[in-house]
Homo-oligomer: 363 residues x 2
Amino acid sequence: MGTLHVDLGERSYPIYIERGLLAQAGSYFEQHQLGKKSPVLIVSDDNVAPLYLDVVVRSLEKQGYTVVTKVVPAGEQSKSLSVFEDVMTAAIEGGLDRKSAVVALGGGVIGDLAGFVAASYMRGVTFVQMPTTILAHDSSVGGKVAVNHPLAKNMIGVFHQPAMVLYDIDTLMTLPPREIKAGLSEMIKHGLIWDKAFADWCEEHSGALLQLKPDVIQYGLTRGCEIKAQIVGSDETEQGLRAILNLGHTLGHAFEATAGYGQLLHGEAIAIGMAAAAKLAGYRGASSTLYEDTVTKLRSFDLPVIIPADMSEESILAAMMHDKKFKENKLVFILPTEIGKVEIVSDVTVEQVRQVISELKEV
Amino acid sequence: MGTLHVDLGERSYPIYIERGLLAQAGSYFEQHQLGKKSPVLIVSDDNVAPLYLDVVVRSLEKQGYTVVTKVVPAGEQSKSLSVFEDVMTAAIEGGLDRKSAVVALGGGVIGDLAGFVAASYMRGVTFVQMPTTILAHDSSVGGKVAVNHPLAKNMIGVFHQPAMVLYDIDTLMTLPPREIKAGLSEMIKHGLIWDKAFADWCEEHSGALLQLKPDVIQYGLTRGCEIKAQIVGSDETEQGLRAILNLGHTLGHAFEATAGYGQLLHGEAIAIGMAAAAKLAGYRGASSTLYEDTVTKLRSFDLPVIIPADMSEESILAAMMHDKKFKENKLVFILPTEIGKVEIVSDVTVEQVRQVISELKEV
C-alpha cells in the first residue's frame, strides 16, 4: 500500500500515496532521475500556493534543483488559453528546456492546465503531478490534460502521462468538508463500476473517510486510483471501455450546467447522476434493490441523490439538448447492472430520461 | 514514384506526390476510410484559399463529406495562440467531433497551425496535409506541429502525425520564383546530409527544378521526403539523429533573426548557413573541396552563400547569444564531413564562429 504502478507500456508511471510526500519531493525527483541542469516549473493556484508551495520549493532546492514558480487564480476560469499562455511565458522566462519538468501542485484545474503546458512546451516535457484534493485522485490517473474553450469545456487538450504522481494525503486535511464529500463521490463511483467489495468497503468506512482518517483515506485513494488505472491501462485513449468511468456523468453534467457551474460541485452532481443511472437501469429490468443499494451507499456520505427543487425538468433537458448525440437519440449512458458492474448503452429514450428526472425531483 | 510511406509503426502514413491530387481529395478520403458522418474542417490562408479551396471542397462534397472552412491571414503572424483559438472556434461551431478530420491546405504556417488544432481538438483528431509550397515537402514529414509564443518561435506544440499527405505539385506552379528557389534549399539539404547521389542529381537538374518541370520536381520532392522520412522514422521525437536535419540552421536562424524575420527567406538563410557549416568543417580538417563543392551546388540554384553586407558580425553574434547553450559554449552544430555525410558536434568555438562570419561576409 502507498505505491501504485499505472501500466501503460513505455508511458508507465508510479503514484505514491502517503503522508509527508511534499517535503520529500526533491528525493523523489532524484530517485526518478529528473535532471538537475534544467529548471523545474511549479504551477499552483492562490489557494494552494500559500499552504504548500514553499515546502515543495525548499525540498527541490535542497536537492540541487533550480525552481521557478507560477501561481494562477484558483478556479475553473484559470483553465483558459490566456492563462495557459501566461504559464508558457513563465516557462520561457524561467529558461525551461526540453529536459525540464512542469509540476502541477493543486487540484484538477491545476493538473489540467499544467499538464497541457507540459504536453506542449517545446513539444512536450516531463510532467509531475502533486494533487492536493480528493477529486484529483481521479484526474491524476489517465493523462487527460486540457484547457477550456469559451464555447465548451476541456475542448483543447491532449493525452500526456505524468512521469510520477506524489499524492501527499496531509494536504487533504485543509480541504473544506463539502469538497471532501464531493471528492469521495468519484471514489465510490470506482467501486460502483468495477468492484462491489470496494463499494461496500467505502460504505462501511464512510465515517472514517469523511474524517480523513489517514490509513483509511490512504487505502481508499489507492484502491480508487488502482481501479481507474486498470481501466485506463486497457484503453489509454478512450476508444471504448474507458467510457464506463462516465457513470453518472451524462446526467451529472446536465445538472452541473443547469445549476450553473460551481453551484453544484462536480462530485455532488455525479452522485445524483449515479442515483439516476441506477433508476434508469431499473426501468430496463435491473434488480429492484440496485437503486436502493446505490442510494444507501451515496447517502452514507451525505451526498445528494435527488434533483434540487429549483431545477426544472425542461432546463435539464435543454442542457442535454446541447449534446448533438442526444438530439439524434444516440446519447450514451453508463448504467449499472448490479453493484460493481456497468454496461454501456445507447438506447435510453428521451421518455425514460423525463421519467427519471420527474421521479428524482425534490418536491 | 509518386507514393511514399513514412514508417512510424501504428502512426505510419502515405505521402502522395502527384499532379491533380486536390481535385481527387474526396476519393483519397474515402480510400483512407475517413468517416462521412463527421464534418471535415479545411484550414487555409488568404493567399491559397482563392486558388485551391473550392476545388478541395467540391471534391470532398461530391463524395458525401460535410465540409467547413476557416481562412486565416497569410503569414507567420497566424501561428499565434489567438488565431489558434479562432480556428478552434470554427471547429466547434462547425460541429467537429472526435472522428472528424482537420485539413491543412497551404504552406508551412498552415501545416503547423492546423496540425496543432488537429492534435489538440478534443485531445486529437485526424490530420490531413495538403502542402502547396516546396518548403512544405520538409515540414509535412515529421509530425512537428506548433504555434509561436510572443517570446519564441514554435514554442507551443506537440508531435502529431498526419493520416496522409496529398502533395499536389500543380499547386507549386503559382509560387513566386524566389519562394521556389528558397524551398529547394531544404531539398538540397536532404542530399547534403544523407545522399551524395541525390545532392549531385539536384545540382545537375537545378534548371529543371527551378522551372518546376513536373517529372523532375516530382522526383526531387519524393526523394527529399523519403530522406526526411528515413531520418524521422528512426528518431520520431528528436532524441538524437533527427538533429542532423538542422544542417545550416544554427547560423541560419541567427541570419533570419538579424535580417528581421521575413527579410531573408528561411531557405535563403539556411543556404548561407550550409555554406558556413562547410567552411567551419574545413577549420576542423575536412577536405578543402568540401566547401567549394557545397557552394557550387547552392549557387547552381542561385541561392545566397555569403552574408549580406548590411548584417554586422556583432548583430549575428548577438542573435546567437539569445541561445543559452551558446552562452555556455555548448552550441550544437551539424557539420558536413563530406558531401552526403554530416556529424553532430558541440565543440565549435566562438572564435571559429567569428572567423566564419568574417570570411563569408559580403564586402
